[in-house]
Amino acid sequence: MKKLLQVKHVEKYYGNKNNLTKAIDDISLSVNSGEFVAIMGASGSGKTTLLNCIATIDRVTSGNILIDGEDITTLKGNNLNKFRREKLGFIFQDFNLLNTLTGYENIALALAIQNISAKEQNDKIKAIAKTLGIEKILDRYPYQMSGGEKQRVASARAIVTNPKIVLADEPTGALDSKSSKALLETFERLNQTLGSTILMVTHDAFAASYASRVIFIKDGKIFSELNRGDDSRKTFFDNIIDVITLLGGNLNDAC
């Protein structure tokens, strides 16, 4: 299977010589096209930093990141923006929807930035809204939506541009368990029916159990990796809990 994302010996330091934080300490991993990968770790373990580096929002201190064969650590300026809007989709914990725009307009904006015509925008949004079951809330403003609805609109915005890879940072972090479950099922469906590649950061074992592979990191290093294989979600969940126990303590509490 094709390697869509390759992270090679990435390091990320914060601060100066006297007060150095190694947020990421020599991480290498790869994600294949069509995979649904979760990254787990306690708060402060460097999950967001890693995701931001992959997302080109942050820069690595050393190492390389290849997406679709292109080394993104060497991209600059408008090439970087171009790459970001054409190849990547983002979903954030706090939704990051624009409050002054309706759900439809929020999704459309991601397409408009790519110079896609209004007609085509409409077709694409209608299609994705159907898949995610948000047709009824498209005309609402974010303040008129529940958290789960907001996150589904944000997911639609991330997916609608047909990105190579969708990056999600704690997407269920601000949701109640019912909405979390619905969102994760949506991710599963996107992954299975549309073949979207998803890289999700989470500290929640339940969320991670929806992925096909889980990578655990601790103190900026990869600690372990779990493949779901043909296991049921329940079995996979139990396996994840085992690793967490091994990691030392409950991740939820660490937050």
Partner: protein
């Protein structure tokens, strides 16, 4: 402790509110400069009458200052309310940390005090420095000689500035404290989220109000221009406030309805709305406008008044400077009215010679003026009288009109540098230069006139541009020039002498004028006018117009620009997060800055564009009034005004854009 926090807060927010602070300083500077005219003119040599005009002007400016300080007071209260609102969350945090409301009030008091004192000190310092430069312009305006350059500093103006601004800041403090006192913690903490809702206006109501506002403004435009005499006839003059008031209401309704409709219209143009960041840009813009419809309307009206005020004021000053050259083209004029029909003509040459002033005269021309009791203004207007009475219902036309012989008039034309009048044996010429009367006269240009019993035909279809009394402007409402033969046997009712002196020295001329005025000429009445008196009079008027116009205009301009700039800046602070989201979904920096630029440009242009539309009609109205003092065009001064507006308003826009760009 609190003082330290206050200082820190000011320092922290200084960059964000530099524009507010600069506006305060600018306000102080302008206030000081216009109140320190006395010391600016201290080293000028001013004549008696100019000094008394100066004193009058100071009184007028002092009255205007009270109004100005009200405007500035409102501006500062508005701005500080704005700034406090932006900090609601910060106050909420102070409250949750256990700081008492009293302490927060004290904190705000201290902050206002520090900002106030700093702006006063810096503003006064700048004011004193700048007034050294402006005093040169003042000298030029008064055409006074600057004996020597001296540093000027007005204690009175300084004290006045301190008192007025002290009061303003005091009122601001009270307002702020009351505002904080009324706040509830929960509201403070939620302040940010509350105003994010999009309020949609009823489209039908918008359309109705839009049409109503267009109708209101349309009627007001008509009422102050073509319809003015229709509207004002049989009504008190104060009725003019009705179209002005309606215009203001119309402005508000227009902005209210447009801000409700524009978004709907634009968002239905899917191709434009769905391009790049347009949807975001328009939504931002519409929420900006929706949240301050009233302010934008007031700003629009203020801009409109600024343009009219500045254009009118500058044109008055400009007009007098030019027209004195043209219409006060002799140094002195003496008119002697005859007591009876039998009195002989005054022999000016002999009288002047006897009084020892003849040798000082380089030119002396004496002429006579006649009138025919059977030929008055009304008769001279012929059939045009009806139209003209309809237009000027307050004027009566039964006074006899002046008549001069062609040889006398051409003698005058020679010395006063006017075109001569050629009249054939049975012809007459009309001499007129008053703008509004030129038109009226043109209506009857081909009629025969019966003057002293003789039927005369016009000498062509052209009016002669001229006058017989030196003046500050074109105020000759018309007199007739007829062949010498026709008035051979008539007796003139007055004689007059037009004089030029050898000397061009101001003081010498004043002395000569006084000597000539003291002579006993006989006759039933004597009147004098001199170039020097005319100059002083019109300088007073033009200086007054310039000062009041500039004073009000500048304050209006900076107030409106400052409010818009502050709104733009505080919105940008609120919207930082939104721009970050745009970045995350892949928008280029160029697109983001472009969106910001478009929002701010349209926001600044909106009130200006409507103000300019108002101005088209407002200027017509100003011109209608100014024509009565002889001003015929505002074009030159409008160009100057536009330059001033582009500099100040444009400057605020650029500063606001630059600051907000840096905040992103």
């Amino acid at each position: 402790m609190l003082a330290k926090l206050a200082f820190k807060n000011i320092k922290k927010s200084f960059k964000d509110y530099a524009i507010y602070f600069c506006t305060l300083i600018l306000g102080v500077v302008i206030f000081y400069i216009f109140n320190s005219l006395d010391s600016q003119t201290a080293m000028l040599r001013l004549s008696e009458s100019t000094s008394s005009l100066m004193r009058m002007m100071e009184e007028v400016l002092s009255g205007v200052s009270i109004f100005i300080s009200c405007v500035l007071g409102f501006l500062i209260i508005y701005a500080s309310r704005f700034l406090i609102k932006k900090r609601n969350q910060e106050f909420g945090i102070y409250l949750t940390l256990g700081m008492s409301k009293r302490k927060i009030s004290t904190l705000i008091l201290l902050e206002t005090l520090i900002a106030g004192v700093m702006s006063l000190v810096i503003g006064l310092a700048c004011g004193v420095l700048i007034s050294q430069v402006t005093s040169v312009f003042v000298a030029k305006l008064f055409e006074a000689d600057m004996e020597q350059f001296a540093f000027n500093f007005s204690i009175a103006a300084t004290v006045k500035t301190l008192i007025y601004f002290g009061i303003i800041y005091l009122v601001v403090m009270i307002f702020d404290v009351v505002m904080v006192g009324k706040c509830k913690l929960i509201e403070l903490l939620q302040a940010e989220k509350k105003n994010e809702k999009i309020r949609l206006k009823n489209p039908a109501l918008c359309i109705v109000l839009f049409l109503a506002s267009v109708a209101m403004m349309g009627w007001s435009y008509w009422a102050v221009t073509d319809g003015f005499y229709t509207v004002i006839s049989n009504r008190p003059l104060a009725f003019i406030l009705v179209p002005i008031g309606l215009g203001c209401v119309g402005t508000y309704l227009l902005f209210w309805s447009i801000s409700g409709m524009a978004l709907r219209i634009i968002s239905s143009c899917k191709n434009i709305y769905g391009r790049k960041l347009n949807s975001f840009t328009f939504k931002q813009l519409s929420s900006k406008i929706n949240s301050m419809v009233a302010s934008i309307s007031i700003i629009c009206v203020m801009l409109f008044m600024t343009i009219c005020l500045l254009s009118s004021a500058l044109s008055i000053a400009n007009y007098f400077n030019n027209s004195i050259q043209k219409y006060a083209s002799a140094d002195m004029e003496v008119e002697v009215y005859r007591e009876s029909e039998t009195q002989k003509a005054t022999d000016f040459e002999k009288i002047f010679s006897e009084n020892g002033v003849l040798d000082d005269m380089s030119d002396l021309v004496t002429v006579s003026v006649y009138s025919d009791p059977n030929f008055n203004y009304g008769d001279s207007l012929g059939l045009a009288l009806e139209e003209i009475t309809a237009q000027y219902p307050y004027i009566t036309f039964d006074a006899p009109i002046d008549i001069m012989s062609s040889s006398d008039y051409n003698k005058l034309a020679d010395i006063l540098q006017m075109e001569s009048a050629k009249v054939g044996a049975n012809e007459y010429a009309i001499v007129v230069n008053y703008e509004t009367w030129i038109y009226s006269r043109t209506l009857e240009l081909d009629s025969k006139m019966n003057i002293f019993g003789t039927n005369l035909s016009p000498n062509g279809s052209k009016i002669v541009d001229g006058f017989n009394i030196i003046n500050g402007g074109a105020f000759n409402m018309g007199f007739f020039v007829v062949p010498d033969g026709i008035i051979k046997n008539e007796v003139p009712y007055k004689d007059f002498a037009v004089i030029n002196y050898f000397t061009q020295e101001h003081d010498d001329q004043v002395e000569l004028n006084e000597k000539i005025a003291a002579i006993n000429y006989g006759g039933s009445g004597v009147s004098f006018d001199s170039k020097i008196r005319i100059k002083e009079n019109s300088i007073g008027l033009s200086a007054m117009a310039t000062f009041v116009g500039l004073y009000l205009g500048l304050i209006f301009l900076i107030s409106s620009a400052a409010i818009l700039a502050l709104k733009v800046l505080s919105d940008t602070i609120d919207d930082r997060e939104k721009y970050n989201i745009l970045r995350k979904i892949g928008a280029d920096e160029k697109q983001i800055k472009g969106s910001l630029f478009k929002q701010e440009l349209i926001f600044f242009l909106l009130p200006l564009v409507l103000a300019l539309i108002h101005t088209i009609f407002g200027i017509k109205f100003c011109l209608m009034i100014l024509e009565t003092i002889g001003v015929t065009t505002l074009l030159g001064s409008m160009i100057t005004t536009c330059i001033i507006i582009v500099l100040i308003y444009g400057g605020y826009f650029i500063a606001a854009y630059a600051c907000s760009k840096n905040m992103l």
